[in-house]
Point group: C2
């Protein structure tokens, strides 16, 4: 803290035109080149935003108070900043950058704010929803590599709302996890479970993010979907969801998650399927095959995309731990 021990280039008389370079300079004394780069781009965009909009003091104060509210409504089971990122399209973008997909492999979708770490592991064929009002269904899946080989022992996290469109954590009187489970794929890459047919629901809009949506004349609805997350060492972490075809919000998802390749159909189980899985004929049935990409392939694709994008942007960077930093050599 002794000012004689920090080497800061002298600054004074900062104004609209010189504040950015000065802030970047003072932020560039650390020994983490990635942080230096992130801060340089952050300050540049933040300042350019203010300069391009001629942001007023009143607007600035309104924005800061909004950000306070987003933080203060956040709890262990409601992450309003993830929600804000979701409705601004940032979550979709970051996932697309970080988890590029090869053709023919399962695309990613938004995580959303309702994943928890308390789901219980169930075995194939078990149920993951206790909601008697929901329409029963069975979901039969495989998880394979791009060549079609099954992947055994993948940890699969699955979560969905109840029939009222609420996740378990949204009920104040809940007694434990519901509408969520963890499964492991077997040696054929298979896992299947009983659940309820997903319904469309509005994202929580009783907080600051809901107020923003209202100001923007946007609805808060998400089309009916079921979340899936896949994890196994050596394979790229996959966060995705399956969406129901024909949902009224299919092309206006409040958080931009829908992809054509992730749209599915529940069909009435024919007699042979019903018998195989021990459910009444006509029970809603979904079959889906997921395809994972290896860590290595994803890493290479991510690096290639990053370098290509940086080149197109004319930025002089190199990759350090697979992330761009300024190339000062």
């Amino acid at each position: 803290m002794d000012p004689t021990k920090v080497k800061i280039p002298p600054m004074k008389d900062l104004n609209i035109d010189n504040i950015t370079e000065n802030t970047i300079t003072i932020n560039s004394q650390g020994d983490d080149p990635r942080l230096t780069y992130l801060m340089e781009r952050l300050v540049t965009h933040l300042h350019n935003f203010a300069r391009e909009t001629r942001l007023s003091t009143k607007e600035w104060m309104t924005a800061l108070n909004f950000l306070v509210k987003v933080g203060q409504i956040t709890t262990d089971v409601r992450h309003e900043y993830i929600l804000l990122s979701d409705i601004l399209g940032l979550s979709l973008l970051v996932d697309a950058i970080d988890h590029p997909k090869l053709p023919g492999t399962t695309e990613g979708s938004v995580l959303g704010p309702f994943h928890t770490h308390e789901a219980e592991e169930i075995s194939s064929g078990s149920g993951m929803s206790s909601d008697p009002q929901g329409e029963p269904c069975i979901v039969v899946c495989t998880v394979k590599d791009p060549a079609g080989n099954p992947i055994e022992g993948v940890k699969v996290d699955i979560w969905e709302t109840d029939s009222t469109g609420h996740y378990d954590v949204q009920h104040a009187d809940r007694t434990g996890p519901d509408g969520r489970c963890i499964m492991k794929s077997d040696k054929n890459g298979e896992f299947w479970f009983k659940a309820i047919v997903p319904v469309p629901y509005p994202i929580p809009h009783d907080g600051p993010v809901g107020q923003l949506l209202k100001l923007l004349k946007r609805h808060p609805w998400r089309p009916a979907h079921m979340h899936f997350m896949f994890e196994k060492e050596g394979w790229d972490h996959l966060i995705t969801a399956l969406y129901l075809r024909g949902d009224p919000y299919e092309t206006s998802d409040a958080v931009f998650g829908v992809k054509n390749s992730l749209i599915v159909e529940f069909v009435p189980a024919p007699a042979d399927i019903a018998a195989k899985y021990g459910v009444p004929e006509g029970t809603k049935y979904l079959k889906h095959d997921f395809v994972l990409v290896s860590d290595k392939e994803t890493e290479k694709l991510r690096d290639d995309n990053a370098l290509k994008a940086m080149q197109q942007l004319g930025r002089k960077v190199k990759l350090l731990n697979h992330l761009p930093v300024p190339d000062v050599d």
Copy 2:
């Protein structure tokens, strides 16, 4: 909320390249053109930031959790988001945009997070600090227009730390406002008060903003200063501060507030001054003349600056309520 009643252009299969235009489109349905413009620029910069840095999911999550903490440590008397804006140079920038100054008039400086609305009005000659450890001083001021005419009845808000470098609100056991007051300029534009000589102090660095400063190897110190805020109908609201010459942090203020024209010197009061103000000879004495700009002149200057800047940036905008909005005609 009925999807048939909202006209949203269909969206699906959003990716790195098309997410920005789609987000902007869905955000542009409102009837407030200023909000539409702010959101368009916000989303553009936010997305470009992620694309230019190839922001990873891990970094994104770290950033969102940081923003939650900034909101959650904020209270009525500690606005951590103002602090964050201050150390990123945004506060200085917004003030410079919103309150442009004509040559020869008093420049602005950062508000900081410690202004409150509970200071008591005192009459000229009264004291505003009860700290017996502080070095006593008298501050003798005038407030005038650019032509040198005194401005009567200006509400002046003044605040400073105690001798330990803390504002009253930073003491858990405080009983009321201290080190802050409100005064009114008299018919000669004069006001004077007793205070203590300001000391340098670190901005609160026990929270997330302090952690960020540490990561960036920046110190949290502000040079010794006294805050002033001027308010009178017809005159541009002036938020400023006076800084002590020779302070060790004069050229490395953690929040970028120092300007040459705002650097002052406390001198020992000579015999005549001491007699005039009824203090012992040699008491530290500061004389300063503030110059306000009229609302109208500021508005014109702000408009001119905005249009000039927009033209230089090549942005097709017009001013609505003195703020840029897209010019769609």
